[in-house]
């Protein structure tokens, strides 16, 4: 037989729902007030001041104990990032040159193929002229032969 116990979750949800609906508007109204933003700003300022104090103390401790500070480690990282950027620029330049080269190659291919076509035409015309010259030579020779035999 299962023992019936008190359901904490249902009670929790009920309390939450009732609290939420009762307080939601009041909380939102407070959050919207200028005075709230002002207080938030003041808390922030104090927190930032505290953080700054911690930063300064940590920095001076690290200096005294001869341990590299966050700034110094970040400087080394920056140097690596700079090298990374230079490699990136080189990659960009190679890409650009490759693109240009591909374009130039394409243009070259086109002009070579148009030259080929032109050459084909020239050869065709030459062949035709040779044929017509040969034909006319043959005609001339035939006429000459006829004249001689007469």
């Amino acid at each position: 037989m299962t023992q019936s116990t008190f359901d904490v979750f249902s009670l929790w949800k009920e309390i939450y729902n009732k609290t939420e609906s009762a307080w939601h508007d009041a909380i939102q109204e407070t959050l919207e007030k200028k005075s709230f933003a002002e207080s938030l700003g003041q808390i922030q300022s104090q927190y930032v001041q505290f953080q700054e104090l911690v930063n300064k103390m940590t920095e001076s401790y690290l200096k005294q104990t001869n341990i590299p500070s966050r700034d110094e480690i970040a400087n080394v990282a920056s140097l690596i990032i700079d090298v990374d950027s230079k490699i990136d620029q080189l990659e960009d330049e190679i890409d650009e040159k490759e693109e240009r080269l591909v374009k130039e190659m394409d243009a070259l291919k086109k002009s070579v193929s148009s030259l080929e076509k032109k050459l084909d035409k020239v050869i065709e015309l030459l062949n035709k002229s040779i044929e017509s010259i040969a034909d006319s030579n043959a005609t001339v020779a035939a006429t000459a032969n006829k004249t001689v035999s007469k």
Partner: protein, 361 residues
């Protein structure tokens, strides 16, 4: 060495009456303290380019790509981008790649202290255009679809305005991306120049810690974001699917990254405090950002229950751009539920996927 024998405690715990309520309590305890974290970002991917901490991923490289126009996703500098690939069956990236889209994601990585001087323009001018060129080269495509979420969408809009004539940007999909900061809800008050000591914060922290930003987000709805979270898990403790989703969300929400200091200074000053983008006053490396330069097809998505980016911050973009094909799509969702969860999978994923497919033919 001091050893503590915990056997009596275990025996006592075991001897407690076993009933449903007790089991629920036990489960609650496990979910909060001992269960392993769910594995996120499981869609297979390859890295095709890296720069500093950023990585450009290509998803499911071995799947057939039927869509000609690749998609490049740009995420915010806050939180991690695996929200777009949360869990199998609840992943926008998986959904797109399963339907033949070639999806790339630019992951900014985790900024180190050495990145505290990184500005927004460094990301917009030095990273995004390069990533676009890499995607075009890798995919062999002639055009690209840009997808931006939250602040990543704002960066995408700025990038598109600057590069629309230089790069073949065919489509722009923006998901809950703030453009107009005239009324940013509670943030407008809280980030008021008179109270919010922006310079002190950036100079002290270098990079602004995730916890600092998270505190502001939680303060938007304090009861719901603190107590409500645990009430939610307790009331759904017997529903495995809801518990898994809860764990996934908690993992993502508490797994943020620091905001690079200078970029944070610009984000708060130029956007929240001075609202420069919508008023054509924003300059990126001396060039004015005019949203009217955007001519790409635009899908701009608004979530009505979003309390981080309010609908009125998103909608004005459609009036500013010169795109002939522009859609403002309003969904009943929150800032995160717009892209994760059952409803997003059933309604928002198909809508976005169809829009991209239709505009990529």
């Amino acid at each position: 060495m001091v050893t503590v024998d915990t056997t009596p405690l275990k025996e006592w715990f075991e001897s407690l009456p076993k009933n449903k309520d007790f089991e629920k309590l036990q489960r609650f305890n496990k979910v909060l303290f001992t269960d392993p974290e769910p594995q996120v970002g499981q869609t297979p991917k390859e890295i095709i380019w890296t720069k500093n901490k950023a990585k450009l991923y290509r998803y499911q490289p071995n799947k057939v790509k039927t869509n000609k126009v690749p998609i490049l996703m740009i995420y915010a500098l806050i939180n991690k981008p695996y929200i777009l690939d949360l869990y199998p069956g609840n992943s926008f990236i998986e959904y797109l790649t399963d339907r033949g889209h070639d999806v790339y994601l630019l992951d900014w990585g985790t900024a180190g202290f050495e990145d505290r001087h990184m500005k927004l323009e460094d990301y917009i001018v030095d990273y995004i255009p390069r990533a676009v060129k890499k995607v075009l080269k890798h995919s062999g495509a002639k055009e690209i679809t840009m997808f931006g979420y939250c602040m990543g969408g704002t960066m995408t809009a700025i990038f598109t305005a600057l590069y629309q004539k230089k790069l073949p940007i065919r489509n722009v999909v923006l998901l809950t991306s703030p453009i107009d900061f005239e009324d940013a809800g509670l943030y407008t008050n809280w980030l008021d120049k008179r109270y919010f000591k922006l310079d002190n914060i950036v100079e002290t922290f270098g990079n602004v810690p995730f916890e600092f930003i998270d505190f502001g987000n939680k303060l938007l709805n304090p009861l719901s974001n603190t107590v409500g979270v645990y009430v939610n898990v307790a009331s759904n403790i017997e529903n495995e699917e809801k518990i898994l989703n809860w764990k996934l969300m908690q993992k993502w929400l508490n797994d943020g990254v620091p905001f690079p200091g200078e970029a944070y200074r610009q984000w708060i000053r130029n956007f929240y405090q001075e609202n420069k983008l919508i008023n054509d006053e924003l300059e990126v490396r001396g060039e004015r950002v005019l949203l009217s330069n955007i001519t790409a097809n635009l899908l701009n998505i608004v979530a009505t229950r979003d309390n981080i980016v309010l609908p009125q911050q998103i909608e004005p973009l459609n009036d500013k751009v010169s795109s002939k094909n522009k859609t403002l799509h309003v969904v009943n969702a929150g800032h995160v539920s717009v892209i994760t969860g059952k409803r997003a999978v059933a309604e928002n994923y198909p809508f976005i996927e169809q829009w991209i497919t239709e505009n990529s033919k």
